[in-house]
Symmetry: C2
Subunit: 354 residues, 2 copies
């Protein structure tokens, strides 16, 4: 593996107040870069001062969205040390995304080393207020200066980071989600299981419509039958129905969330019956109306564990657990964040110290 | 409408040999830019020397592919004048794409004026060899320096141009296309009817697989039933079966091509029965095997009219019209290119002189 060169910023930025952090607007002092050119492979890993890209207007990423990204976090433990959560899983998933998008995969080991090296350089940016963390955004863009639809021959892999607070304005308070009936985010055979830009571009309109109606996010249905529940904008979803846990199966149009995977491992360890299967919106709303839906929550790196308090679908509207966070949701939140922030032991070996 | 400011390049580039033009690798001396900021709307239209963009690494276009584009051409007429083909239709379609992607639409009149002004400034770049033209690529990208999935508050509209020859290496010679059975490009409820980057990113892998098998492009099936023919990579498709013309209906996952629309107008005027409807791959291959498929061709700005000589689907392989361009395909090509290059009269008012 090529050595990562480090060029430090001459002047460091002022850090924001860790008590009022939002999401995704503030970036740390440095970024990681890695180039790809056909014939040469991925090369020249380097950490440089955070700054703009210079790209030709014909760069493929602007026209054909050949781009993928990842999202993970660095957490400040009580002893002041910094740790990552399952970074190798993000490396793996980005390789899968690359494969679908015909982007040469970034070597997984290099991905993890790059994240570590960058967070080390900007370790002062990892905040230590409760609930805060350093959000890490690795991404790849196609840079060929050429029109015509085909895979690019050159790419840029970049990692940027920034301190973040809660993803939703609601914090850990329950969110309202709306089942989208018209727009489709992803379909089997498409790119739904990847983190490619196009999935998110397709989702913006429904998100705006949901917001107009007072909902925080969209609950997507599958693109073929338009009846199976898939996931929320940036979270996977889980439901506690009659004591059992059900969550949509990974059918190809759902993102295989790392928080999802972690929750399923915890839940199984706790002795819950967990079903990964197809779930219709009808089944879900029937369960809610008959009182069998005990809890509902979303899982995701940005949103962590997010209780779902209300759900709308066409003219139906149901309240889950009286609009309060349920005890299992709370236990998942406490356990997962306990491990992530190094407050509880990590029997699973999920965390990676810097 | 704000006046378009013009800043000319100090040094002009050398023009390429018009006899060996490819597609999309050479760009003219200038580009058009227009900014959008929430509260301010689209503003500051200007023509400046062609050059790179400076964009923050967190710019939304790199992460969530909030981007749309168009494609049209300027043609050199025998009298030396330059004309555009239905530019208002591109302006309209880009507004539709913007709408789906939650991008504030570029005013259609300004779109057309901008194209005209830019082509005027770079008029020397419009080549005059047979079959050559100036390809025009308008596009919009989301520029907010912010992570978190929602519509951007700032955008850049840009137009770049470049002289082009034939899109396919085959030129007007028949191309081979392959019906894709696994990957899906677009689905009803998604973004298939728009020219957004995500559609093309999703299509690259199948395109590569088709190429590996010796085919020039992919023939897409619908994402729901996986049996109805939709379109080719960058062309709509038409078939002459038993004297009638059939072409896939615009069901929401097919791009409403301007060349398609123009061909349908010509064909109806010529007295052909034209059916826009659902067509299964099975119907198509049955027609081919029973000898009823007389001609097949693709339509698109880049590819103009492109005869389809062979088609593969699973283990089937059919040759259309002996692998030769058919007489109706040739007539469409001659008529359309005649109008576009100003060699024939334009009774439809499709062309717009600069
Ligand atoms: C569409 C989508 N689903 C689910 C998730 C959750 O995945 P993870 O738990 O790996 O963050 C995310 C966010 O990362 C996402 O963007
Ligand atoms: C997916 C797709 N279909 C069809 C077309 C043809 O459309 P038009 O005739 O407007 O160029 C294009 C190219 O522009 C395209 O990208």
């Amino acid at each position: 593996m090529e050595e990562i060169k480090i060029q430090r910023a001459a002047k460091l930025k002022e850090k924001p107040d860790p008590k009022t952090l939002g999401f995704g607007k503030i970036f740390s002092d440095h970024m990681f870069l890695l180039d790809y050119h056909a014939g040469q492979g991925w090369h020249d890993p380097r950490i440089v001062p955070y700054g703009p890209f210079m790209l030709d207007p014909s760069a493929m990423v602007f026209h054909y969205a050949q781009e993928v990204f990842e999202g993970l976090k660095a957490y400040r433990a009580p002893d002041g040390s910094v740790q990552l959560f399952r970074p190798a899983d993000n490396a793996r998933r980005m390789a899968d995304s690359c494969d679908r998008l015909c982007i040469p995969p970034v070597p997984e080991e290099l991905f993890v080393e790059a994240v570590k090296a960058l967070v080390k350089v900007d370790a002062d940016w990892v905040p230590n207020e409760p609930g805060t963390s350093l959000y890490i955004r690795p991404f790849v863009i196609a840079t060929d200066a050429s029109l015509g639809v085909h895979a690019s021959h050159s790419y840029l892999f970049c990692i940027i980071t920034g301190p973040v607070g809660a993803y939703y304005a609601e914090g850990i308070n329950p969110v309202k989600i709306y089942v989208e009936n018209d727009d489709v985010r992803a379909v089997k055979g498409g790119t739904g299981y990847t983190k490619c830009g196009g999935n998110y571009a397709a989702s913006i309109r429904a998100g705006e419509r949901a917001e107009e109606q007072g909902y925080a996010q969209v609950l997507w249905l599958d693109g073929v039958h338009r009846k199976y529940i898939e996931e929320v904008g940036s979270m996977n979803v889980m439901f506690k129905v009659d004591g059992k846990i059900i969550t949509p199966a990974l059918t190809g149009s759902v993102l295989p969330g790392i928080t999802r995977r972690s929750c399923l491992e915890l839940l199984r360890d706790w002795g819950y019956a967990v079903e990964e299967r197809l779930i219709t919106a009808e089944e879900l709303f029937d369960a809610a109306e008959s009182g069998k839906l005990e809890e509902a929550w979303g899982t995701g790196t940005a949103a962590v564990i997010s209780p779902i308090g209300e759900m709308g679908w066409k003219d139906k509207h149901v309240v889950v657990n009286g609009g309060e966070i349920g005890s299992l949701t709370q236990k998942l939140y406490d356990t997962l964040t306990g491990i992530q922030w190094g407050v509880e032991p990590d029997p699973y070996g999920w965390t990676v110290k810097l």
